[in-house]
């Protein structure tokens, strides 16, 4: 791994972005977001000349066009990173397969948006790319197949956001979007808990994560670097509140002068089918069962 801040850009230099045309709302949105922050923007009509331009001149951000396949974007990214290892490249695509997210993460894409996506989410990610002083190696894929991916994520919120956006980019037609949204929501809650309580948002610490796609279930495993905890001790978390007094934990926190919190585990528990902790309490597995596909009528 490189040092966490090796990609930092000097704050006094004008930042530059290379945008490949996607058309309509996306182009307008990117222009507005970048221009409002004083970025210099260079536009090109397709991916063909990105490599030559990126080799000739450093860009702080590159956003690909939606028309190319992800495999081509990833290959392009690999070549650019050979010359510009800290470049932030966001992949936009209308042409993808479920496994493309893994290769995009593995090659170090900053983010990944597969259609359809919310323009406002893209705007937020571009702002994050503009603001984030160091991002390299925040996510490292250790092993990856379409059924089982293991990776590490640095303990900071920006890395959590990037990882969650990669998950939103997975478009598997066999997983209903509503079910996927619940899993991602629950996963994000558990991930942030792990980064905060296990890793103390210390960027030198990492959380280990696995995603497993079985025929009738999705499972996520999150292991944090901390000392663990016992659910029984969590009087200050909603998961430890009495069923007859849902806010008893909030009064405990209020009395102890703790900041509001404690709903992450409860929310995650409600949104997936199983939430299983190991004995130490620093490792958790989320499981969401999927309905079997409908059998064809014979």
């Amino acid at each position: 791994m490189t040092t966490p801040c090796s990609g930092a850009v000097a704050p006094t230099t004008q930042k530059t972005a290379l945008l490949v045309a996607s058309g309509g709302e996306v182009d307008e949105l990117l222009t507005n977001v970048l221009a409002s922050e004083g970025w210099s923007i260079q536009r090109i009509v397709d991916n063909q000349h990105i490599l030559a331009l990126a080799r000739a001149k450093p860009f702080d951000l590159i956003v690909t066009g939606r028309e190319t396949r992800v495999a081509e974007d990833v290959e392009l990214l690999r070549k650019i990173r050979g010359a510009r290892p800290h470049v932030r490249l966001i992949i936009l695509t209308d042409k993808f397969t479920p496994g493309d997210v893994i290769s995009a993460m593995r090659e170090g894409a900053f983010s990944y948006f597969s259609a359809p996506f919310e323009a406002s989410e893209l705007a937020e990610m571009v702002r994050a790319a503009m603001a984030e002083p160091c991002w390299d190696d925040g996510i490292e894929v250790l092993s990856g197949t379409p059924e089982w991916v293991t990776l590490t994520a640095r303990c900071d919120l920006a890395t959590a956001d990037r990882l969650v956006q990669f998950l939103h980019g997975v478009r598997d037609p066999s997983i209903p979007e509503a079910e996927k949204d619940h899993v991602i929501f629950a996963f994000k809650e558990i991930l942030i808990n792990a980064m905060e309580h296990g890793g103390h948002f210390d960027p030198s610490q990492h959380v280990e994560i696995s995603f497993i796609r079985a025929r009738r279930a999705i499972a996520c495993r999150v292991k944090d670097p901390g000392e663990g905890f016992s659910l029984e001790e969590l009087r200050h978390a909603a998961a430890g509140s009495s069923p007859n007094d849902l806010f008893s934990h909030a009064r405990v926190r209020d009395a102890r002068g703790m900041r509001p919190g404690g709903f992450g585990i409860l929310l995650a528990k409600k949104l997936v089918d199983e939430l299983i902790y190991n004995e130490k309490g620093n490792e958790v597995v989320l499981v969401k069962y999927l309905d079997p596909p409908e059998s064809p009528i014979i």
């Binding site: 937020e124 956001d161 806010f247 209020d254 509001p260 919190g261 404690g262 709903f263 929310l267 409600k270």
Partner: protein
């Protein structure tokens, strides 16, 4: 779009119109927490959160709403929710917040709920 908060008053009720999202990501929940703490510290005891244009909430946003509700109740105040919908309503329902904190679809009805029992506009 982050979170935009605007504040208005109706009698002794302070109404916060929330627009955007209240999640931990970009510090939006922190901003909401700061605004609510400031209001409570300044003596506000009756708060109505207008959630009609709130698009997302996570555990950090839920926690701040609950923390404010508990704090206001302890000090003899009250908090209500106005027009939660979509994903926000789903989250508030999942954690049973909607069963405990009064929630309204109509602003006039919400404001009326803050009045002491037996009060009428003509009295």
């Amino acid at each position: 779009m982050g979170l935009q908060i605007s504040t208005r008053e109706s009698g002794d009720v302070t109404i916060l119109d929330l627009r955007g999202r209240s999640t931990i990501d970009g510090g939006e929940s922190e901003l909401l927490s700061y605004q609510l703490q400031k209001l409570v510290a300044s003596g506000v005891r009756k708060l109505l959160l207008n959630l009609a244009d709130l698009t997302q909430v996570d555990s950090s946003g839920v926690s701040i709403i609950v923390g404010t509700y508990v704090s206001l109740k302890r000090q003899g105040g009250d908090l209500g929710l106005l027009r939660p919908s979509g994903r926000v309503l789903e989250v508030l329902t999942v954690v049973h917040l909607i069963d405990v904190i009064p929630s309204f679809q109509d602003e006039a009805e919400a404001l009326a709920s803050f009045r002491p029992r037996g009060y009428s506009a003509s009295s």
